[in-house]
Symmetry: D2
Subunit: 133 residues, 4 copies
């Protein structure tokens, strides 16, 4: 069991949401923040740097937005729907953009792994949005 799930089980959020869906979102978002930070650095080591610029920028945005989202949904004891919902939408959207861009370089193993992390994170954000509805 991941730490995110153990923390939720030891102190359940007051908002009515399935702990499994929430824990999966926290884990997917944390993983994606890290994968994108690593992928931006891997991109910077590539020969054809000019082709990687969009990918680097999206990875940096994705890391920043995932980091904030992981923090906010780790603090759901009081749920502020007005900010949390657009934040989750922003997170899903940047994961879509970043995943699409990484998939264009899927012949590079680091972009293939990062695309997977982005796809999983996008799905987890959308599932959490549905679960919080």
């Amino acid at each position: 069991m991941t730490y995110a799930r153990q923390m939720l089980d030891s102190c359940p959020p007051t908002v009515d949401v399935d702990a499994g869906v929430l824990a999966a979102a926290i884990d997917a978002i944390s993983d994606c923040a890290q994968a994108c930070a690593a992928d931006a650095d891997a991109d910077l080591s590539e020969q054809n740097l000019a082709e990687m610029v969009t990918c680097i920028r999206l990875c940096l945005d994705c890391t920043d937005i995932c980091t904030a989202t992981a923090g906010v949904i780790s603090r759901l004891a009081e749920y502020d729907a007005g900010s949390t919902r657009p934040l989750l939408q922003a997170c899903a959207a940047v994961c879509k953009s970043c995943g699409d861009e990484c998939e264009r370089h899927a012949h590079m193993p680091h972009c293939r792994v990062c695309a997977e992390a982005c796809r999983r994170c996008e799905r987890a954000c959308r599932e959490l949005l549905d679960a919080l509805a």
Copy 2:
């Protein structure tokens, strides 16, 4: 002239946006991230801690969302509207919630200052959303 404005003047974003509006948003968001981090800590030093819990939680969310937003809008050389717009909406929303809560404790000077930082940040996010439309 702030560093944010100097950076924008030295390397203008490709997106069509007024540099003054963008620099004002970057500065207001950075200031708000810091004010909220400081206010959460000041709240923790208050006697009537139970009354400060919502304020502390909103301050922590506000710091996280402002930090991500400052990063993303400092990187507007390529503008990903699909994620940047909901992020700015999330930032304005959390500043509204946090500013409202801080205003309820405006007899505490630290909450009064933090409320001001939140109000200014909310306005700056909305002005940037309009300017990017």
Copy 3:
């Protein structure tokens, strides 16, 4: 295999460090950042709030330092020893302080889980410091 390890295998860092040790550190630090954010929120739901203040503050510091450290060691393609080493020392130190404090409340399940995450992170930081020596 975690995403951190997959990313390292797909784009090995140029610095001479064991990939298993580095991946373990990235994972432990990311987990600790999340556990501490969740624990601060759980602390805020406790009855005896005044006794939790130090724990909340250390959890917030721990989240911030772990987040930065995870970012920096995800970018070891070029290794800046002068900043990375004291950062890892700061991370180990805050995990020690936060783990000690959480252990004092180990009768609360959320603090017990968080203490475990802090201990594991402290160890992983020290092992990485040794491996990078």
Copy 4:
């Protein structure tokens, strides 16, 4: 008066430190985090990308470390010297490395401005380390 100074005046830290030195550090560190985020993006728009890679990496490290440091020193109501001092040392060190690298590209206005932000931040970190001694 900056928000950082207003917050400190409304809720003085318990640690014995000059409020002016602390506020100056908070402001310089926040400015540096933003300047480095903006400079990394500006670097990515340059023609001679291969020459900018080290600068981009140092800017990303500098943003991450400055963001954590700004958070931690905004929360000095309880001062954990064991983690705060190495963190400030890491922050001064990455500002030195990043400032040196930016200065090599000082013919690019964005790197010249960023170098100034790094130098000011490095000085402010060292002055705060002395003041906290």
